[in-house]
């Protein structure tokens, strides 16, 4: 296999793994937020705010990995 092909393959697999990680993490986060909102509807607003902040932080980590995949694909 040419070295370029390995790079593209790695980028694709890396991106897929990244999305799996992000999906799992944010999914758990959303589940906890839903449960908390269901138990105590009056704090739903604060829960939503914290959920969005945590989701943005998790996505930040996701995008690190994504940036590396993009570098792999276009180097």
């Amino acid at each position: 296999m040419q070295p370029n092909a390995l790079g593209y393959l790695a980028a694709g697999i890396g991106a897929a793994l990244t999305v799996i990680g992000a999906g799992l993490g944010i999914g758990k986060l959303a589940a906890a937020a839903m449960e908390a909102s269901g138990r105590q509807p009056e704090v739903a607003g604060q829960v939503r705010t914290s959920m969005i902040i945590a989701a943005a932080l998790i996505e930040g980590a996701t995008f690190f990995a994504l940036a590396i995949c993009i570098i792999l694909a276009f180097k």
């Binding site: 902040i53 996505e59 995008f63 690190f64 940036a67 993009i70 276009f74």
Partner: protein
């Protein structure tokens, strides 16, 4: 390798002409690049050609034609080659700064004349009060009010830069890692300065040792110093990758139209792009807020470490929830 940058495609679609214009814009640019390959081709389009729109460029595509930006030959200083030529992102950086200066100063003047702000000044004040009461004071206490100018400037600057990428023919300067690195460096300096100011230089250095036995200092101190740099690095990467990723998705979806080579498939990608533009709008605000919130959080950690009783976060927030 050149880090790709941003070109926004059409904004929230009010009419089909808006998205069609974006498609035409991409098509026009593709045709230009296609000229170097001997004419626009109907076959599979090279994806890297499309990414041109997301990258930094030496000319700006405007509705009135291509604007070539002044280029200066790189000069050498202190062993580095510095290229001060103006690129698309530098141009939009200045645009954002100019817009922010004009708008913020006008709003401040208008708000100072009346006791109750109205109109756009009201909206601005709402955001300012939100940043003061929900971000600065809970994280940093009353000492946080001193850093409000920096936090507000950062928030609105990042916001305007992000939003400029969403208008047609615009580009987000935050999609360039050099811009976000500059913002992160400034955040790093402010975080350390606030920590030194609150703790005193001696205590600040003492905190770098992490409170371990002095024989472990050679291990501890480099790790702590490295830890000082990871947080602003994360700020830089988060903002850059969020902005860049969104625009790459938009360019990719619109590029599907060119990969298939016909207008028939335009409906699918365009409708997705409309949705993603709304998401990008939300992400523009969210990432600006996250940047400022994390900066104030890190500053708050340093400031609280300097308080005599090491009190916990979030004392005495001024709770005037006006609205």
């Amino acid at each position: 390798m050149s880090i790709p940058a941003i070109q926004g495609s059409a904004d929230t679609v009010q009419s089909a002409g808006d998205t069609l214009h974006a498609v035409q814009d991409t098509l026009h640019a593709i045709a230009e690049h296609g000229g170097t390959h001997g004419g626009p081709e109907k076959g599979p389009v090279d994806f890297t050609e499309l990414l041109h729109h997301v990258q930094d460029a030496k000319e700006i595509d405007t509705p009135l034609g291509i604007l070539h930006l002044p280029q200066f030959p790189p000069f050498h200083a202190a062993g580095l080659t510095i290229d001060m030529s103006i690129t698309k992102h530098v141009f939009f950086l200045w645009c954002a700064a100019l817009i922010l200066c004009v708008v913020a100063i006008a709003v401040a003047r208008k708000n100072s004349r009346r006791p109750v702000p109205t109109g756009f000044g009201n909206l601005f004040e709402m955001v300012v009060v939100f940043l003061r009461d929900e971000v600065a004071v809970p994280n940093m206490g009353s000492a946080g009010l001193r850093y409000m100018p920096y936090l507000l400037t950062t928030f609105f600057f990042i916001l305007v830069m992000n939003l400029l990428g969403l208008i047609p023919w615009g580009a987000s300067a935050t999609g360039n890692i050099n811009v976000t690195a500059g913002l992160a460096i400034i955040a790093f300096v402010v975080i350390q300065a606030s920590a030194i100011r609150a703790q005193g230089f001696g205590h600040y250095l003492a905190h770098l040792t992490g409170g371990v036995h002095w024989s472990l200092w050679p291990i501890m101190i480099p790790i702590e110093i490295l830890g000082l740099f990871t947080k602003p690095f994360a700020l830089c990467m988060r903002l850059f990758a969020n902005m860049l990723g969104g625009h790459i998705v938009i360019v990719s979806l619109l590029g599907l139209i060119f990969v298939f080579g016909s207008y028939v498939v335009a409906l699918g990608p365009v409708s997705f792009v409309v949705g993603i533009n709304f998401l990008e709008l939300f992400v523009a605000f969210l990432q600006a807020y996250i940047f400022v919130m994390l900066t104030s959080l890190f500053m708050g950690l340093g400031i609280q470490a300097g308080e005599p009783a090491h009190g916990g976060p979030g004392h005495g927030t001024s709770d005037d929830h006006s609205s």
